[in-house]
């Protein structure tokens, strides 16, 4: 074997190794992004499950959360973690207020009315953000601690990726506990089926719906924080595409199903990352791939992967 051949051989085996670590690196990113989409998708699915409304303002609630963090740090000089908590709290309040103002008065109206109201609320939030926060992109604060890169068996993973995954798993466990083991969760699941009968059981319908919006919006805030740590430019339309993708994730998984929202979020997160990583020529078609996947899922299973008929 000539030297040239040997080095070519070594090079190619090195290449395989490189590809594997590269793949794992992308995989970790895909998982983290999948969780982010999943958490946003759960917000859609929870609200839809309980009040049968697609909350089209959810993506903009997500955007507002990022700005709440920004202003927590810039305006009030909160330390970053306090600013995160402050943003989650404010976002929950925002979700509750939106429900009170835009959806509750229409609860007995035809469903199309609250749908229009949701779309209107989405435009309102975006334009509010343009007027008040400004249309130009703003830098999202990057805590130095979170930007550390860890080396796990040769795979370079950012600390923030790991934290995204860990916190998301925590949020998921908390959520399943909430929905399946607590009284409030029982009320939410009863409401999903029948308001009047739930009332007859002594359930306070308004309070349960308020709670549902608070939970959905807090999850949007958590994912917005992770999103902005990954893509650190924030602006009034930053919620539009993540919102659409997460909504698509909820539909693919079967709207109303928490498990489905998570799986849908994962599929979309993976496609987004892996497509860009391995077929960079097609990266521009990322959303086309996502919506093609949606079409196929709906063709074969109109209720989504985990949807109930």
């Amino acid at each position: 074997m000539s030297d040239a051949q040997a080095s070519a051989c070594a090079f190619s085996s090195g290449g395989v190794l490189m590809n594997l670590t590269l793949f794992l690196q992308h995989l970790a990113n895909g998982v983290a992004l999948g969780f982010v989409f999943g958490l946003v998708a759960i917000g859609y699915t929870l609200v839809y499950g309980v009040v049968k409304l697609v909350n089209f303002a959810h993506g903009d609630i997500f955007m507002m959360a990022a700005f709440f963090v920004y202003y927590g740090i810039v305006l009030f000089s909160f330390p970053w973690f306090l600013s995160f908590l402050f943003a989650i709290f404010l976002t929950a309040l925002l979700g509750i207020s939106i429900e009170k103002v835009a959806y509750k008065p229409l609860r007995n109206a035809p469903r199309i009315s609250s749908l229009c109201s949701a779309i209107g609320m989405s435009f309102l939030l975006e334009n509010f953000a343009i007027v008040v926060f400004g249309g130009r992109q703003k830098p999202f604060y990057q805590p130095a601690v979170l930007n550390k890169t860890l080396n796990v068996w040769g795979v370079r993973i950012q600390l923030v990726t790991i934290i995204t995954i860990v916190v998301s798993i925590g949020a998921l466990f908390f959520l399943s506990y909430l929905v399946y083991k607590t009284k409030m969760g029982l009320a939410m699941r009863a409401l999903a089926y029948d308001f009047d009968t739930a009332r007859l059981m002594g359930i306070n319908v308004d309070r349960t719906i308020t709670f549902t919006f608070a939970v959905g919006s807090s999850l949007a805030a958590i994912s917005a924080i992770f999103w902005a740590l990954r893509y650190p430019q924030i602006w009034p339309f930053m919620g539009v595409f993540p919102g659409w993708r997460a909504f698509t994730a909820a539909i693919i998984g079967g709207i109303g199903s928490i498990k489905g929202a998570m799986v849908g979020g994962f599929l979309i997160g993976m496609i987004s990352i892996l497509l860009v990583a391995f077929l960079p020529d097609l990266a521009g078609y990322r959303d086309a791939f996502i919506f093609i996947m949606l079409v196929f899922v709906l063709l074969f299973k109109p209720t989504g992967l985990f949807g109930e008929t």
Binding site: A187, R189, A192, D196, T197, R199, L200, M201, G202
Partner: protein, 234 residues
């Protein structure tokens, strides 16, 4: 225990109740009979605050509960089994019963009442972890009654429990209703099956197009010629 005075309810331009008054005394079985559209279900919904009362009042143990929020009304030891059962198909039998006890926090008492309900309806215990939607019609009705009892009510209101059930199941159901009554619950029963209802009723009212047209003890009405002709098929 329950007193309804001159109750008026409308759905838009349609007057469903045109001044209804009746009483349910403690420890009694009282029934409202009447044909479709007479206003029976509306009466129960008005008592529970599920439809708006235009005028007139509902008193529970002397307290005016007219147009109070439903969750407040049902916290006053009053429970309703809605028409068509309305169990939660997406929840298990166990969870359906737990929803019934939504306003209670006494774990031991809840467990105790659940055991009591299993003694009334043994089949519910066998189906405990099954989804409500997978039960048969009769089982769903049992679950709906069990769910209502889980709030430990003094007054149990049943809206057409016999609807769509086989005659043999209806017979069993009425036996259980009597048993529940004999254990100290006051019962307000709404039925199209006038014969079965009048048989177990202490007192009965006949409803026609939003008005009470006749009243008397169960026995009196069973013997009444008009009732016989209109509701008992003979």
């Amino acid at each position: 225990m329950l007193e309804v005075r001159d109750l008026h309810v409308s759905y838009g331009a349609i007057k469903a109740l045109k001044g209804i008054s009746f009483k349910v005394e403690k420890g009694k079985v009282v029934t409202l009979i009447g044909s479709n559209g007479a206003g029976k279900t509306t009466t129960l919904k008005a008592i529970c605050g599920l439809v708006r009362v235009q005028s007139g009042n509902v008193f529970l143990n002397g307290e005016n509960i007219t147009n109070k929020p439903t969750n407040e009304i049902v916290s006053k030891k009053i429970a309703m089994v809605p028409e068509g059962r309305r169990i939660f198909p997406n929840l298990t039998v166990y969870e359906n019963l737990l929803v019934g006890a939504y306003q209670r926090n006494d774990k031991d008492g809840i467990q105790e009442d659940m055991e009591w309900i299993f003694s009334l309806f043994p089949v519910l215990k066998e189906r405990l972890n099954q989804k409500g939607g997978t039960l048969s019609g009769g089982e769903q009705q049992m679950l709906a009654i069990g769910r209502a009892l889980m709030s430990r009510p003094d007054l149990l209101m049943l809206d057409e429990p016999s609807l769509g059930l086989a005659p043999i199941i209806v017979e069993q159901l009425f036996e259980v209703i009597q048993k529940i009554h004999s254990e100290g619950k006051t019962i307000l029963l709404i039925e199209q099956n006038a014969y079965a209802a009048l048989n177990i009723a202490d007192y009965a009212y006949v409803l026609e197009t939003g008005r009470i047209v006749l009243q008397g003890t169960g026995k009196e009405l069973l013997a009444n010629e008009e009732v016989k002709r209109a509701y008992l098929g003979g």
